[in-house]
């Protein structure tokens, strides 16, 4: 197919054929149009001449036909001879036209071939041309042997995955591929290939085999591979499985290296976790008065109960019933103090976020115990309208609690400047389209100029001592949970913050 592979003998052959035809045409006088055979010369010219060359050769052939005609017939030719000459000339002309068209088609194909070759070679994506035909044969054999699906095969022959890897032949690979894997040549890569697929990604290979088994035409997966020098690569592999003969003889595998991206994502996530932790600590700092009260209160009760108990026991006639109830209250108080400390420890910890089903109602209750004192101290009325039996949401308990604490503390602080109307904090939850929506509404100053566009961006703050991180952290936490957070003005002028989180439907 390759146009530029010139056959050096073709012009010679063409010349020889043309000379032979001319000789026969001129020297013999059969009643046939020998000159028609010039079409073979025209066809041959396809392989070595360009468009202009072909036209010249065709013109030459026609000229030779006319010369032969003149020599052999002169001017006294029969009507038949004229006709034969005309047929020959027409045949050459028509063939030339057809040949030129074919030539054009070949040129288009060639350019396209060149273009795709360039894309293949120069692409920033690693592309591998592979031959899966042996694998296709093996799978067909297994189908014939009675296996109905990949699951059955997997159970019967767990080692098949390694055999299948051996049956995937590398035909060609582009430079990006070689660079990615650190291979000097396609041959080196071909030799090393099966060993570059770590055992833990066999799961992905099974999925690929399933795609082939089910005659799908493409497959995509994120996986990891190993470079020749042992580097671990995070890759997204796209496999195109076009129809071909033999079956799966030409499979295209593109590999995108997402290692750097994954590393950046991991680093970003670590930073966000760290930032959220710092923000939690600073929120806890703001709540210090409430929290210390929350811990001190049960301690004071323990001390007083203990002292009262001692007095009852030291009386002339000890009152055991009073001593017992003192002791019981002490145990209750100690548990209460322990729970507060437990909650604080969870909030101040810096562990990586977990993904577990958590009840939003529980989070709200725990948050309210932490901020209860603030609510009292600011003389705020609390209204709760929470969805009973709400399905859990999936996420990290501590982070979600941080969001709720942040929004509630914001609401309390916003209302502390309001004296002309009742300070009311309203928490509502509802479910809608598989989402749980929690709204936190205050009767503070709200957003007199509309909700600021930058409300959730870092360093946006309206507080004198604010860092402007609270809401931006809230948003990043809610985003990471596949949810949304938004703000709007309330019905009576305060602010409403709404968080929407996907609810967790237990798998049947």
């Amino acid at each position: 197919m390759e146009l530029h592979r010139k056959a050096p003998f073709a012009p010679l052959a063409a010349t020889a054929i043309a000379a032979a035809i001319f000789a026969i045409d001129t020297l013999t006088s059969f009643d046939v149009a020998i000159a028609v055979l010039y079409v073979s010369v025209v066809m041959l010219s396809l392989s070595f001449a360009d468009r202009r060359g072909m036209l010249l050769i065709a013109a030459g052939c026609m000229g030779l036909t006319l010369v032969s005609f003149a020599i052999s017939h002169g001017f006294g030719a029969s009507t038949g001879a004229y006709a034969r000459c005309a047929v020959s000339l027409a045949a050459i002309a028509i063939t030339t036209l057809l040949a030129l068209q074919v030539r054009g088609g070949i040129a288009v194909l060639g350019r396209s071939e060149q273009r795709y070759r360039n894309i293949f070679l120069a692409s920033g994506t690693a592309i591998l041309e592979m031959d899966f035909s042996e694998l296709a044969d093996a799978l067909d054999g297994l189908k014939a042997a009675g296996f109905v699906n990949m699951q059955g095969l997997r159970e019967a022959q767990p080692s098949f995955v390694r055999r299948a890897l051996g049956l995937m032949r590398l035909s060609n690979a582009n430079d990006t591929t070689l660079k990615l894997f650190g291979a000097a040549s396609v041959e080196e890569l071909r030799a090393a290939l099966p060993s570059l697929i770590p055992c833990e990604v066999e799961e992905t290979i099974w999925l690929l085999l399933e795609a082939i088994w089910e005659d799908r035409t493409s497959f995509e997966a994120e996986s990891s591979m190993q470079a020749l020098d042992g580097r671990r690569l995070n890759v997204v592999v796209t496999v195109a499985l076009p129809e071909s003969v033999p079956k799966l003889g030409q499979v295209l595998l593109s590999i995108m290296d997402v290692t750097a991206r994954r590393e950046a994502e991991a680093a970003l996530q670590a930073t966000q976790t760290e930032l959220a932790h710092v923000a939690r600590i600073s929120t806890l700092g703001e709540l210090m008065a409430s929290i210390s009260h929350e811990v001190n209160q049960p301690l004071a009760a323990i001390v007083t109960n203990g002292q009262a108990g001692l007095r009852w026991v030291s009386r002339d006639v000890p009152d055991i019933a009073e001593v017992r109830s003192s002791l019981e209250r002490m145990i209750g108080d100690a548990k209460r103090a322990g729970e507060v400390i437990q909650r604080l420890r969870a909030l101040s910890s810096n562990s990586a976020p977990l993904q577990t089903p958590v009840s939003l109602n529980e989070i709200i209750e725990e948050t309210l115990t932490l901020v209860q004192r603030e609510i009292l101290a600011h003389q705020i009325m609390l209204r709760l309208s929470l969805l009973e039996d709400a399905p859990p949401v999936i996420g990290d308990r501590v982070q979600l609690q941080q969001v709720v604490i942040n929004l509630v503390v914001n609401a309390i602080q916003a209302m502390s400047s309001v004296d002309e109307r009742a300070r009311t904090l309203t928490l509502r939850s509802r479910s809608a389209d598989g989402m749980i929506v929690l709204s936190i509404e205050d009767t503070g100053p709200g957003f007199p100029g509309g909700v600021p566009a930058k409300l959730f961006t870092p360093f946006y703050t309206t507080k004198a001592n604010g860092m402007g991180m609270g809401l931006s952290i809230c948003r990043s936490i809610v985003d990471a949970h596949g949810g949304r957070i938004r703000a709007r003005s309330g019905a009576v002028g305060g602010a409403v913050f709404e968080i929407e989180l996907p609810s967790y439907q237990e798998a049947a």
């Binding site: 009260h293 209160q297 009760a301 001390v303 007083t304 109960n305 009292l376 003389q379």
Partner: protein, 210 residues
């Protein structure tokens, strides 16, 4: 409520923490004191004011209104019950404010039981004195109300240190008449000497309209 319990001193505890409330109740009862518990200021106000010797043990941070606001509210209502404040943390400005407004003590949680009992005993003693003073004043007022207008005039002038003759001159009556009025009013007021009468007048004076 029996007649006996009305007589014994009562401690009112206002704290929103149930366990602490009950612990205080237990502590006071262990030394034979009567206790009544309230979870909020509003609950305490709903109760009619006590006729017996009593004091209030109050948490500074209360749901609804702060303990200090409540102190002011009681004062405006004319309820002068002595208050022992409790607080979770040693807030100096707050304790100064409370003491200036007449609190008898300010205890920081957790407190020693003896400190609390002493504070309460002290507050009850205050209340006893207050009630005694109030009782004496009202008896004095009753006696004063029994005087005639002329006798009151004579009393005011005599206690200013005027001689009988000067009083007579001021009122335009004879010295004899002044002597008679003076004898009557000394008797009615139960004063045995002029010095005693002066003291009585000093106690009465701020409570007199004219």
């Amino acid at each position: 409520m029996s007649a006996e319990s009305i007589q014994s001193p009562t401690i009112f505890v206002v704290d929103d923490d149930q366990s602490l409330r009950e612990a205080l109740s237990s502590l006071f009862r262990s030394v034979g004191m009567r206790v009544e518990l309230f979870a909020s200021a509003a609950e305490f106000l709903a109760r009619k004011s006590s006729e017996t010797e009593s004091c209030l043990v109050l948490d500074v941070r209360l749901p609804g209104s702060s303990g200090l606001d409540f102190q002011g509210q009681l004062a405006r209502l004319g309820n002068n019950i002595p208050i022992v404040f409790m607080t979770g943390h040693g807030d100096v400005p707050m304790s100064v404010r409370a003491m200036k407004a007449g609190a008898t003590d300010f205890l920081i949680k957790p407190f020693r039981d003896q400190d609390m009992l002493d504070a309460v005993a002290n507050a009850l003693a205050h209340d006893r004195e207050r009630r005694k003073a109030e009782g004496e004043l009202s008896a004095l007022m009753a006696r004063y109300e029994g005087l005639t207008a002329r006798e009151r005039q004579v009393m005011a002038l005599v206690t200013r240190g005027l001689m009988n003759k000067q009083v007579a001159g001021e009122l335009g009556v004879s010295e004899i008449t002044v002597k008679i009025h003076r004898g009557h009013l000394m008797e009615k007021m139960g004063a045995r000497s002029l010095a005693e009468l002066v003291k009585m007048f000093q106690a009465l004076e701020p409570n007199l309209d004219k």
